[in-house]
Structures are given as structure tokens and as C-alpha cells.
């Protein structure tokens, strides 16, 4: 009986059980890719791009993976020939010692010591070690030191195979993943040889597992019928396309850059950027008014996260106008106008109320390092109100609440509370 295999695609679905022949046929139909996993009966799941794992667990698949899958992506699959166990007679060193030689050796060691000291002083020793140990990574780091550029991208593309190989080890993964994410999300949100889930990393918030452009295009295409009701406020579907549009950009900015991300600064920003690109591609720049509002909203969120000046005109409407209006307000009076003439369902009402409650607190804190008695009193009331409101279910504002509680505890000393929080949560940047 033929051996059977199952293929796990994108950690979301299965193909098979297939015979080896059927696996090959499915690959030619492009039903799975390098980042997907194969499993035999009672055998380990191995990703196709893990050539060593394939060799060890599925030697019968090596040919398929090497000749068809990896070579198609310019990945070197050449293995070093096995070293034959031939004994080589080495020339015996002369045992005669020479005092002059010892003196020269001391001189060399002394010079190396001095050089090392100077390099350490100058902070260059790490770079030198890196250059010796990992030339590819050193080059990537050097190229990226001037920011994202074409030469950096070309270097990453050219060395994709080596990088994927290095990322199989945990240390290599931690080292390379920020650069890999930078390139992946500059393009279409994918890195061939790495699953969407690993590209994403572990994130608490319910963001999509896959934020590639293709996946976003599918989401936009499948949800088109719901857009108008979403903007009118008659529906707030718990779907990924709706979640990304209502995600709070201030929350993301407070947490940017996240560990493992350099550009974009977080998976949240990466998803927003891919959602925007995909929507523009999907509607071809000539979309419905709903699409135009969505594009505006996504551009608004991205601009907010990056602290860009948002002077341009945004074509906002309905619920998304209200939400952006709240986020953009700097005075309590401005907030009142945001919800006027808007009649929405309870789910939308809860979401807008929560955003409004957060914004009111931010307005009280704006440009304040110490709250006076009156402000503190109003602040305490607002924080108590926020605590009672149901969460928006998308992001946890627990850290923000802790910050506010710290301000209350320190009797309105915002600056000190911020410093205290900075010690506890160094990755968060609470703005004043």
C-alpha cells in the first residue's frame, strides 16, 4: 500500500491524504507552498522549506522539494559532498624552540590586545565579530543603517535561502525577523519560505493570521455587500476587515515599535498598510464611495501612527467619520460634534462611547505634567467611567488604565506616573 501524506496549509486547512504522486500533482496545481507542512502517518509535521527536516523525516520527498520547490525560488539546495574518512598524514612540526620566535609571538599578542582595546573603546569590536561570524547579516545591518533602500532589499532577496536557513534556529530567527518583516511588508506581506503565522509572531490582539495583500483582497472582495451597512452604523461585523478599520491608532502608536519590528513598527501597522494597498488594488482607484472612505480611514490611521501631519483632506463619512473625528479632537467641545446626526446600532454605540471616554481622558492629560485640583477631580470621574464601559473587544486598554490609576495614586503628578510606568512597561510610550 502507498504511503499517505497530509499537507497542512497556512495552519488553516488540510490537503489529502495524498500518495507521493498526488503530493507532486497538488504542487503543480500550486495548492500549497514552501511554508506549508507535510505529515506522514505517526510522523512529525515538517515545513517544506526545512530541507534538513525533510531529509531526516521524508527522504522520499527530497527530490520534489529540491528540484521543484526550492529551486523555483532561487534557493541553493546544494549540499556539501560528504567528507570521506581518508587519513591524511600531516607534516610533523619541528620541536625545536627558538627564543626569537617566542619574542615575536609576544609582540603579536600585545599588538592584538592593544587593537582589541581600541576597538572596544570605539564600540567596533561587536561589528568586527559580526563581520567575521555572519557576513550576510553584517551586510544587511550596514545597508539598513541608512534606512530601507533598494540595495538592502536586493541583498535580502539575493540571500533568501541562507536567511531562511538561519531562521530555523531560534537565535537566527530573532536576528533576522525584523529585516524579513521589513521586506515582506514593503512588498506584498509575504516572505517565501516563512509561514504567515511566523511572520506575524505572537500577538494578543485578534488580528488576522495572514495580513498579506492577497488575503486582504479576498477579505475586501467577500465583504463588499456589507460596507454600506457598516458605514451607516447598522452593522458592525466581527470580521477582520471591519476590525482593522476601527482599530485605535493611538493604541498602536503608544506601543510602536514593538519587539521584532523595525519597519513597519508593528504587525498592526503592517496589516493596515497591506489592507490599504489591497483595497486600492482591488478597487483599481475607481471604487465606490464606501471604498474611498475606507481608503481615507486606513491612510488616516497610518498617518496617525507615524505621527505625520494630517493636513490633507480625508473623504470620511458615517461611522468612520465619527471615529476619526473623536481620534482627532483636542478639545471637549470638538468631541460633541463628532456624534451629532448619527444614529447607530448598540455595538457601534458601545465602540464609539469607549473611544469617546478614552479621548476625554487624553484631552484632560494633554500638555499637563501636573493636574491641578479641578482637573484631577474631573480626571478621576472620567477614569471611573472608562473602567465601567465594556471593552471594545479589539484591543486591551489595561495598560492605559494602569497608567491612569497611577496618576490618581500620585495625586495628579502625570510626569512621575509616566516615569513609573516607563520602568514597569518600557515598551510603551505614553504621550503627554
Amino acid at each position: 500500500m502507498d504511503r499517505l501524506y497530509l499537507i497542512r496549509v497556512d495552519m488553516e486547512g488540510f490537503l489529502g491524504p495524498f500518495t507521493l504522486k498526488q503530493v507532486k500533482e497538488a504542487y503543480t496545481r500550486m495548492e500549497f507552498g514552501l511554508q506549508d507542512e507535510i505529515g506522514g502517518s505517526l510522523r512529525q509535521w515538517v515545513t517544506f522549506d526545512d530541507i534538513e527536516g525533510i531529509r531526516r523525516h521524508y527522504p522520499e520527498l527530497v527530490q520534489l522539494v529540491q528540484t521543484e520547490m526550492l529551486s523555483g525560488w532561487g534557493v541553493s539546495t546544494h549540499s556539501a559532498p560528504p567528507v570521506s574518512a581518508v587519513k591524511v598524514k600531516l607534516p610533523q612540526p619541528k620541536k625545536k624552540t627558538n627564543s626569537l620566535l617566542i619574542f615575536i609571538l609576544f609582540l603579536i599578542l600585545g599588538a592584538a590586545g592593544c587593537l582589541g582595546f581600541l576597538l572596544v573603546q570605539d564600540g567596533q569590536l561587536n561589528n568586527l565579530m559580526l563581520l567575521i561570524k555572519d557576513r550576510t547579516y553584517f551586510t544587511a545591518q550596514t545597508l539598513y543603517s541608512e534606512g530601507y533602500n533598494a540595495r538592502f532589499e536586493a541583498h535580502m532577496d539575493r540571500n533568501r535561502g541562507e536567511i531562511n536557513q538561519a531562521m530555523r534556529k531560534k537565535r537566527g530567527f530573532a536576528q533576522w525577523i525584523p529585516f524579513v518583516r521589513a521586506v515582506a511588508f514593503e512588498k506584498d506581506g509575504r516572505w517565501e519560505g516563512l509561514s504567515a503565522r511566523r511572520l506575524r509572531g505572537k500577538i494578543e490582539e485578534p488580528l488576522p493570521q495572514d495580513c498579506s495583500m492577497n488575503s486582504w483582497e479576498q477579505r475586501w472582495s467577500a465583504s463588499r455587500e456589507q460596507w454600506a451597512r457598516f458605514l451607516e452604523g447598522s452593522d458592525l461585523p466581527q470580521q477582520e476587515w471591519a476590525s482593522i478599520l476601527v482599530i485605535d491608532p493611538q493604541w498602536i502608536r503608544t506601543r510602536t515599535p514593538m519587539a521584532g519590528w523595525i519597519r513597519p513598527g508593528s504587525y498592526h501597522e503592517a496589516c493596515l498598510s497591506m489592507a490599504l494597498k489591497a483595497l486600492q488594488r482591488h478597487t483599481g482607484g475607481d471604487g465606490s464611495w464606501e471604498a474611498k472612505v475606507f481608503v481615507s480611514r486606513l491612510r488616516w490611521q497610518l498617518g496617525f501612527i507615524n505621527g505625520q501631519s494630517l493636513n490633507e483632506d480625508f473623504e470620511m463619512s458615517g461611522t468612520l467619520w465619527a471615529l476619526s473625528c473623536i481620534e482627532d479632537s483636542h478639545e471637549t467641545n470638538e468631541l460633541k460634534n463628532c456624534l451629532s446626526a448619527l444614529s447607530v446600532r448598540q455595538t457601534w454605540r458601545d465602540l464609539l462611547d469607549h473611544a469617546m471616554a478614552r479621548k476625554r481622558i487624553q484631552i484632560v492629560l494633554e500638555n499637563q505634567s501636573q493636574l491641578d485640583e479641578k482637573r484631577l477631580e474631573s480626571f478621576i470621574t472620567l477614569v471611573a467611567e472608562l473602567e465601567k464601559k465594556p471593552s471594545n473587544g479589539l484591543q486591551s486598554f489595561q495598560e492605559e488604565l494602569s497608567f491612569y490609576q497611577e496618576i490618581v495614586r500620585l495625586k495628579g503628578n502625570v510626569q512621575q506616573a509616566r516615569n513609573e510606568m516607563q520602568k514597569k512597561l518600557p515598551n510603551l510610550h505614553f504621550e503627554l
Partner: protein, 239 residues
């Protein structure tokens, strides 16, 4: 669909909960965690919550299944957390979940924790779900290397219903064909009986599926029955 649950030989109560109904095309296995009473309540809340959500919803199209499961599970998660916070003795309760919804020819398998679903086909066995424990997370690079040093139990759960307000559930889609058998079970079985032995038993009982859950439970009990054991088998009949 056939299923059974058993207390095992050591535990004083059964914290596993189970529901299956072939006509509805739904099966749910949950293994509760936390305290003497908490585990029971958490797993029962999960099973009842999902069952009720399914019974009250209209018929689902393929594309509606994942949003439905995500929403229902999210609601159940919130229920478990709020019950745990509101009731003394139930603090910190949580539960694993393995739930399969059959829609047309597809099975939608949703999974959190370390209860498992296996696929059996022509004397082959695959573990479809990935245990959400520290060991697997470190292995896949989703948790830092040091996590195992900090947490002495490699099998400690990273994801389960009730553990966190943000619940992320794995949902797998599998197109079923005649002859395929899905085995869903709590870790009371897999902790006691290895995969090779499970495969052998399924092979032996392939044509007597109604006896299979009890047979597997007996095997786990014979091996010590250290935990509650729940087993459900579901199969697509040959046309």
C-alpha cells in the same frame, strides 16, 4: 458519531464535558482546568455555550462558519471569565476545547489547548491539532527560549478558554471523504496511550466504531487512568 466520557481511576470528579449529535453535525469536547469545581463549570459552560449558539443560529454557509465559531467561542470565553470572577471558588477556571462542525462535505475543527483531534484513514493516523503548550510554542519560536526554564512544566497550556480576554482559536478546514474517521479526545487518553497504540486500536475497531470510544477509554484506564478521559469518533459513511 459515537462518544463516551469517563472519570478515570484517580480523579474524584469528571472535569471533561462532551456533546455530540450526528444530525446536527456537531461535536464538542472540553477538558476543564482549575480547582475542585472550576474545571467542571468551565468545560460545561464551553460545551453548553457553543451548543446553544449553534442551535439558535440559522443554517450556516461555508463562509459563515469561521466567523460564527469565532464569535461563539469569544462569547463563551467572556462567560467563563466573568463567571470565574463573580463566583468564589471558580477563580481562574479555564478549559480546553475541541469542537467539530460538519457543514456539507467539510469538517471545521476548532481547537484551543491540548485536547486533540486525529484523522484516521486506511491504517494511517495524523494528529491534526497542535497542542497549545509551552513546549510547542518554544519549539516553533512563538515563545522565547527561556520560557521552558521559567515554566517547569513543558505541557503547561498557553492557550485555553478563560485564560485571557483575547482568545485566539485555531480553526482548521478539512474536506472529508468516505473512510475517514476523526477521533477527538481529551488528554486523559493521549497522556496514557501512545499514538501507535491508538492507531492499532482504531484499525481493529474500524468496522465497530460504536465500541471504539469505550475500548480506548478502557485502554487509558488499564494504563493507569490518571486523568478524566473523553473520546468521540465521527466518520463519513461510504455512499
Amino acid at each position: 458519531m459515537y462518544g463516551a466520557t469517563d472519570m478515570g481511576r484517580v480523579r474524584k470528579n469528571n472535569q471533561d464535558s462532551l456533546f455530540f449529535n450526528a444530525e446536527l453535525g456537531l461535536l464538542i469536547v472540553a477538558d476543564g482546568i482549575g480547582g475542585r469545581k472550576g474545571g467542571e463549570v468551565a468545560s460545561a459552560t464551553a460545551v453548553n455555550g457553543i451548543k446553544e449558539a449553534y442551535l439558535t443560529c440559522d443554517s450556516l454557509r461555508h463562509e459563515e462558519v469561521k466567523p460564527f465559531l469565532n464569535q461563539s467561542i469569544d462569547r463563551v470565553n467572556r462567560d467563563i471569565i466573568s463567571k470565574g470572577q463573580a463566583t468564589q471558588g471558580l477563580e481562574g477556571m479555564a478549559t480546553t476545547l475541541n469542537c467539530i462542525l460538519f457543514v456539507g462535505e467539510k469538517a471545521f475543527i476548532c481547537h484551543m489547548g491540548d485536547s486533540r483531534t486525529y484523522l484516521y484513514f486506511r491504517a494511517n493516523l495524523w494528529q491534526l491539532t497542535l497542542d497549545h503548550n509551552v513546549e510547542n510554542y518554544v519549539e516553533r519560536g512563538w515563545l522565547p527560549d527561556g520560557s521552558l526554564a521559567v515554566n517547569p512544566k513543558p505541557g503547561a497550556l498557553v492557550r485555553a478558554l478563560g485564560l485571557s480576554a483575547q482568545c485566539e482559536v485555531d480553526i482548521y478546514e478539512l474536506k472529508m471523504q468516505p473512510g475517514e474517521i476523526l477521533l477527538t479526545c481529551s488528554d486523559g487518553l493521549t497522556g496514557m496511550v501512545n499514538d501507535r497504540r491508538i492507531l492499532r486500536i482504531i484499525k481493529e475497531y474500524e468496522n465497530r466504531l460504536h465500541e471504539l470510544p469505550q475500548r480506548l477509554i478502557q485502554e487509558a484506564n488499564d494504563a493507569g487512568g490518571q486523568d478524566n478521559i473523553t473520546v468521540v469518533v465521527s466518520a463519513v459513511m461510504r455512499g
